[in-house]
Symmetry: C2
Subunit: 335 residues, 2 copies
DNA sequence: CTGAAAGCGCTTACAG
DNA sequence: CTGAAAGCGCTTACAG
């Protein structure tokens, strides 16, 4: 079956032209229903496989989408983005596209080397997963190949972004804590590290504002250095009644740190996370958190890139995908 | 820069033919060094991008490799194979190939539906990651498209496999335990579940045989049901001094189960795992384990598939990639 | 409803 | 060292 059957082969067997075969297999107009059936059956029988490359030559579209993930987002312990890619690959397939993963190395990012699949015209567009340097984004944007940024945004308004509604999610979470009677609520996260963390912080802050709870500087706790590497979390002298962590992993680490100091969660204080990743269930107790709806985000991103490829006239902007509150045992009502 | 520059465009600007441009950019013979340089420079300047599809039409090769992972191997908590894919994607890129991930659904596996990228001739071959049903493998093998199985093997000798040396790794690990004075050593894992587990078990058994330690039935403990779903592990009445677990996750769960029964690791008994995945470091104490060298395995698999594509005459067989012992705190010497 | 012709962008084999 | 011709397998626009 290692075949090289072409439309012409099918055509000559049936005594018709390859144009007719093309129309039949493509379900186009201009072939009698009867002949169409016969052609399809014979194609099946002969083990015909469509040659995408020929269509690519004609149309100029490869029906492949490049997905770029920076190396640093896919370490041995971090698979959030790899799972994201899984959703993208599946969703792309449903749209008749294929996903090609490109892991971006630090050197390439620094030296503004675009992926080889770009130079080879192997893809019609790119979905870029997670934050990259501004210079790299600019280099990419200059190519004018269709681009969608996923789980990240900057202030460059002419670009397209699909992000989780970090702001609203953390706002909702903080509201929930307040409804449980908490008023001394700390935020754990480096607000200068990523735009996600920043927005989550602002959602937390909005909730405080609405409830007229003052923002206290000692309740904004750093969790990572400039390079994004986690650091030891310094617990404030006066223990808050609840900690809002910028992500589950940090919540997980915080709970362990607290335990070592003899502080029990949720008895002595409550802790919440964000993402609903593996750390949310590994933590003891399980974390109340906000689930990032990666499936919906993947759908939105695929939808957007496909539209951009098909029509040049697309309004750019941010798509916010709503997350989902997940209630577990890490919060205690203190009413 | 949304360009459609072709070789012909470069050629006409320089007053040469597109054949010459093709030779120059492809570093082929038959163009003067001087002209070659000029062409390359102009190509760069004009933002020329090579059109892979045209080459594919000529050669019949897409320079894409499909990577198949069954849905069930990529759950929210399991990212072993996704990380594997990451290594594959990177290694493929080094070989001028691109990886296309295909998540295989249960329905498709059951109904023997081959990936769309197969029917579209989008890939030159497949790397299949993890175990699939025999029927599906057969359907795949019947197509005669080049195939390499990664991290799995069956008795079909005419196929190609790249696997970690499960047998030797567990043999080495059990030897280590015995050298630490252990003789009451249990094995945790369903030996009928996958070939990996079976081989790990046999490596354990070989070590026992060599040391004239009898294999005790009550020391072979089941960890999952027929469908591969984890079950509660029943601790034997007479506690062994060491548990050899078929993977880190099971070791992690075992340690938690033991702790709930008041049994401390490694004080009361030792526990070892296999894989060196996230559970090896999440466990307390950290697990002594065998690291699966996924990078080397990915290299071997890519190497093999590329060779198969380039030449039809390839000897099939198994490639065993040696794992690496990782020593942590979960083993106590009882000498 | 059916098909001859042209063309997508490259490479190979051959001629000069 | 350089290039004209043919061909890879399909689709589109047009003619019948």
């Amino acid at each position: 079956m290692q075949n090289n059957i072409t439309m012409r082969d099918i055509a000559s067997k049936l005594g018709v032209s390859s144009v007719t075969v093309s129309k039949a297999l493509g379900d186009k107009e201009g072939v009698s229903e009867e002949l169409k059936q016969k052609i399809k059956e014979l194609a099946q029988e002969m083990g015909y496989r469509y040659n995408t490359a020929a269509r690519t030559m004609k149309e100029g579209f490869s029906y492949n989408i490049g997905v770029v993930i920076a190396d640093r987002y896919a370490s041995r312990t971090q698979s959030f983005y790899l799972q994201f890619y899984q959703f993208l690959a599946t969703t792309l397939e449903e749209e008749q596209y294929s996903g090609i993963l490109h892991m971006l190395s630090e050197e390439d990012e620094e030296q503004l080397v675009l992926p080889r699949i770009y130079h080879d015209r192997k893809v019609d567009g790119f979905i870029i997963l997670g934050q990259l340097s501004n210079a790299y984004i600019e280099a990419f944007a200059n190519t004018e190949i269709p681009l969608v940024f996923l789980d990240f945004y900057t202030d460059q308004t002419e670009l397209d972004y699909v992000i989780t509604d970090n702001f609203y999610g953390m706002y909702e979470m903080t509201n929930y804590l307040i409804s449980c009677g908490h008023r001394d609520i700390a935020f754990v996260g480096n607000v200068h590290s990523t735009s996600s963390i920043q927005d989550r912080f602002l959602g937390y802050y909005k909730s405080l504002l609405e409830h007229r709870i003052p923002l206290r500087e000692e309740y904004i706790m750093n969790d990572r250095d400039k390079k994004g590497k986690f650091i030891d979390i310094a617990i404030p002298d006066k223990l808050p009644t609840a900690f809002v962590c910028n992500c589950d992993q940090v919540a997980y680490m915080l709970i362990n740190t607290l335990r070592k100091q003899g502080i029990q969660v949720p008895e002595d204080c409550s802790v919440v996370g964000f993402d609903n990743d593996i750390y949310a269930t590994l933590a003891e107790p399980g974390l109340t958190t906000v689930e990032v709806d990666r499936k919906e985000m993947a759908k939105a991103a695929v939808n957007k890139i496909v539209n951009k490829i098909r029509s040049t006239a697309t309004s750019s902007g941010r798509v916010l995908v709503r997350g989902k509150m997940i209630y577990r045992q890490s919060v205690k009502s203190i009413l």
